[in-house]
Amino acid sequence: MDLNNPIAIRIRGITNAFGDQVVHQELDLDVRNGEILGVVGGSGTGKSVLMRTIIGLQQPSAGEIEIFGDPMIGGDPEQQLDLRRRWGVMFQGGALFSTLTVAENIQVPLREFYPQLGQTLLDEIAAYKVIMAGLPANAGPKYPSELSGGMKKRAGLARALALDPQLLFLDEPTAGLDPIAAAAFDTLTRNLSRTLGLTVFLITHDLDTLHAVCDRVAVLADHKVVAVGTISELLASDHPWIQAYFNGPRGRAASAAVASQPVRKA
């Protein structure tokens, strides 16, 4: 990963609080263009809140966010709408529109932003996005309630990729998947990000995903990002949570698995 890549997301001094409960205090974070940044942290450290803040679903009480150099907070609405086409978001449960088929779900953002596209082209785009997200060819006309958990996530990913975004937010993509499906999803994330040149902001609890996919990892603890770096850099940190996380029994197992079977880096 080139350390001199331009910054895709620049977060400065973000403070989020719900009533008395402070989630983030003066949080800083940079996401570089083209990297896959994993975000980890204990439950309740505000990983999802951070994502919601970046994509504008949650108004922080203080701080600045720039995406591709454009301010997210306090910018003019026109510009923010323009920014919205440049990212895709996959929510934890997929958040598919339950009354639309998978193909129609994928077409929603396309129709919203590019009403001039013809129905044939929309169908063709939906068709190859379905395959690109690793769904079977017959998944297009199915409704979300007919899909398994893993397929819902893939359909959510297909919808997130509908506008060919430069920036992809994934909220716990492998949570609730069996190890085989999770590994397949990791490979998919990595391949797509390399082929499409995506910048990925990936929230996860899954140590295997961190090892297999992420270029860098940001650790959320004590209301801040306490460390950002590759896993080996993080291992050198003496922060107690990081040590407990990566050197706990599960952390050691995951890194042993990676050591014995090195991941192919594109």
Binding site: R85, S98, T99, T101, A103, E104, L110, F113, Y114, Q116, L117, G118, L121, D123, E124, I125, A126, A127, Y128, K129, V130, I131, M132, A137, N138, G140, P141, Y143, P144, S145, L161, L163, D164, T195, L196, G197
Partner: protein, 369 residues
């Protein structure tokens, strides 16, 4: 901002070359796909060297064009080649929407489905009624399992919270009956019979019927939506696995609340209607309240009250049962909750009115006229 996507045709001898320029991306496409589709001249080469950026949609459009015309791609950047092979690799027969059936088949299958659904709903309702009876019997045998808190909470939601709106509705209905009745009876010089009209029609019919309609709209819909949402979020399944019967925990408290609250609300509604009518009589027909009450006592037989109060718990049971039954039928998505809630209210009101007609005939037959 960079240029929109565009193309020009260059004729070099017999060979035509299509040169693309600008951004072949979703935001840069504009009307390019339509123009490409309209192009029918033979093209031998597609030159991508002038393309600034490309995304999967751009790659797909080139791929589609190349496939249609059999042209060669030249001057493609590394990224472009990669993207085109990505969309090419995925090119398979992917269905986007269900196959549309022929109109005749569709009509027949819709009729069939509706018939099946009606039949299944009827059977389901009977089965549901059966399981409610079984649960009731179980509860009677071990009365300590009755969820007093839940029942009392339902009393409040179904009964107490409805007092305001049912009172207002009944008061207005009382006035309307009195006013309309007075206008008609005046023609025969029999305004004084307005009291008979108000007293008998509200006690016997309207008090309970209008209350039932209001309770169906307020509580029947709430039952269906609550239970339907719990079904969607798998709360009902969770209950079953813990060993709690959803019928006992969810349906019976609601049934009990509706059965007990309906007669009370119906009586209250009747009373308020009579007060509304009485006020109209006092103000417009100059019948003083004392005379009004005396006359009521003379003209309303006690059986009228029994007619109203006997119907009320049956209506309550029907409203609660259709609401809970439809709630239990929810499966799949959020739209179902809405559909089933509507069905619950419509069926409840329909059944209440049908039963009311039966009751009317029945009570007349047994001589409670």
């Amino acid at each position: 901002m960079t240029d929109m996507a565009d193309f020009i045709i260059e004729q070099t001898g017999p060979e035509a070359q299509l040169r693309f320029t600008g951004r072949l991306t979703l935001s840069g496409l504009g009307v390019l796909p339509d123009r490409l589709d309209a192009l029918h001249a033979p093209v031998h080469e597609v030159n991508l060297s002038g393309v600034e950026r490309m995304d999967t949609v751009g790659a797909w459009i080139i791929q589609r064009f190349v496939e249609r015309t059999g042209a060669k791609v030249v001057g493609a950047s590394e990224d472009a080649v990669r993207l085109m092979s990505l969309v090419h690799a995925t090119e398979r027969d992917v269905r986007v929407r269900p196959e549309p059936a022929p109109a005749v088949v569709r009509v027949v299958s819709e009729i069939g489905e509706a018939t099946l659904l009606a039949w299944q709903t009827l059977l389901g309702l009977i089965a549901f009624f059966g399981s409610v009876l079984i649960a009731t019997w179980d509860l009677i045998r071990s009365p300590r399992r009755i969820r007093i808190d839940a029942v009392v909470h339902r009393f409040e939601l179904v009964g107490v919270k409805a007092l305001g709106i049912i009172g207002l509705m009944s008061f207005l209905i009382g006035i309307v009956i009195a006013q309309q009745g007075a206008v008609q009876l005046e023609q025969f010089g029999a305004e004084v019979l307005t009291v008979n009209l108000i007293g008998r029609i509200t006690t016997r019919e309207l008090g309970v019927l209008m209350t039932a309609i209001m309770v169906a709209g307020r509580s029947g819909s709430a039952f269906a939506a609550q239970i339907g949402t719990m079904k969607l979020t798998e709360e009902i399944d969770a209950m079953r696995t813990i060993g709690v019967s959803p019928i006992e925990a969810l349906v019976l408290p609601r049934m009990l609340a509706a059965i007990i609250m309906m007669p009370l609300l119906g009586f209250y509604a009747t009373l308020i209607s009579i007060i509304g009518g009485g006020i109209f009589c006092w103000v417009s027909l100059e019948i003083p309240p004392i005379t009004f009450v005396q006359r009521l006592q003379e003209v309303i037989p006690i059986t009228d009250l029994w007619v109203g109060l006997l119907k009320a718990p049956v209506f309550g049971a029907i409203i609660a049962m259709t609401g809970c039954f439809q709630g239990m039928q929810v499966s799949g998505n959020a739209e179902e909750v809405g559909l089933k809630t509507t069905a619950a209210v419509v069926q409840a009101i329909f059944l209440v009115i049908v039963l009311d007609a039966f009751f009317a005939v029945f009570f007349t037959q047994i001589g409670w006229i």
